[in-house]
Assembly symmetry: C2
Homo-oligomer: 178 residues x 2
């Protein structure tokens, strides 16, 4: 079974974007880049939510097309992507990820907000959680975590603070045997 | 002006307690104890909210009476505490802390939930924020952060991971010149 890593940048008060979707508060830097480079070594499929993808599409940025990586966008409403390297997935997120996990490959990286995280956590499909906690309380915005049907226990794998004030934490999601 | 430190243990999804107030998921250990011992060196006043204090009072634990430290409980409804070392404060939390900051002493440690944190952050009265992020997504509970009137910028001061899986992060709250 392929490992599924859910990765996200969040504010300390757990927003992934301002109320209007703005992510101007997200910090970059060499350390963040090198952490991502390290991550990509074990990833060959990227799955993102529509709400994460659309702003990217509008901006004209080629993201999330990574060379040599399968790119999937989860959406019931989008038509084909103008980018031939991006495949639109209309089926249920949890069902799609469940099937993708059984395929051959290296690993799956899921990027998205709370509406994508919730069903995947509840279905026990996320093996690893990587958060990049930014040094800010936004005060309001689009939340990362929604209420869930049950508690998810985590095991701290790695914690690193960056010069830009971000704290990057990797957790293993403890299996609940479901 | 005395430094005000707001300290809290939270789940990764930013709850401070389960919906029924339970904090059975909070982890202890030598590292947590020694971090607190270090903190107490610069503290001589402790201010806690009523909702944090009442469960303690019912349990019969002598907490939060620390020797040589002034103990204040913020509450409009509580009468005098049966513990003569605890003073009940009926005035507005922000007003009380604002006055306390101007007194002689070492430092002020505030413990409480989101309903206490929000007005203190909004009034720019918190100088330092210490969170002990626990390795769990509770899924539901009593939230730490409530929506606030404005963004609060933080400066990462210290980040340490503990053997029990907690990540202890200290931030300096950047002054907004108010």
């Amino acid at each position: 079974m392929l490992k599924v890593t859910f990765g996200v940048a969040n504010s300390l008060d757990n927003y992934i974007a301002r109320e209007d979707g703005a992510v101007d508060w997200i910090l970059g830097g060499e350390e963040a880049n090198s952490a991502m480079t390290e991550l990509w070594k074990n990833i060959d499929a990227v799955v993102i939510g529509r709400k994460t993808y659309e702003p990217v599409l509008k901006s004209g940025t080629p993201f999330p097309t990574y060379l040599g990586v399968k790119n999937y966008v989860l959406s019931r409403t989008l038509k084909e992507s103008p980018d031939k390297n991006v495949k639109i997935i209309r089926e249920d997120a949890a069902e799609f990820i469940r099937t993708l996990k059984t395929e051959e490959g290296k690993g799956i990286f899921v990027m998205g907000g709370g509406l994508l995280a919730k069903p995947l956590f509840e279905a026990n499909l996320i093996d690893e959680l990587r958060v990049s906690i930014h040094p800010v309380l936004l005060g309001s915005g689009i939340p990362l975590y929604h209420e869930m049907s049950h508690q998810i226990d985590l095991e701290l794998i790695k914690c690193k603070s960056f010069k830009n004030g971000c704290v990057s934490i990797t957790y293993r999601v403890k299996s609940r045997g479901v």
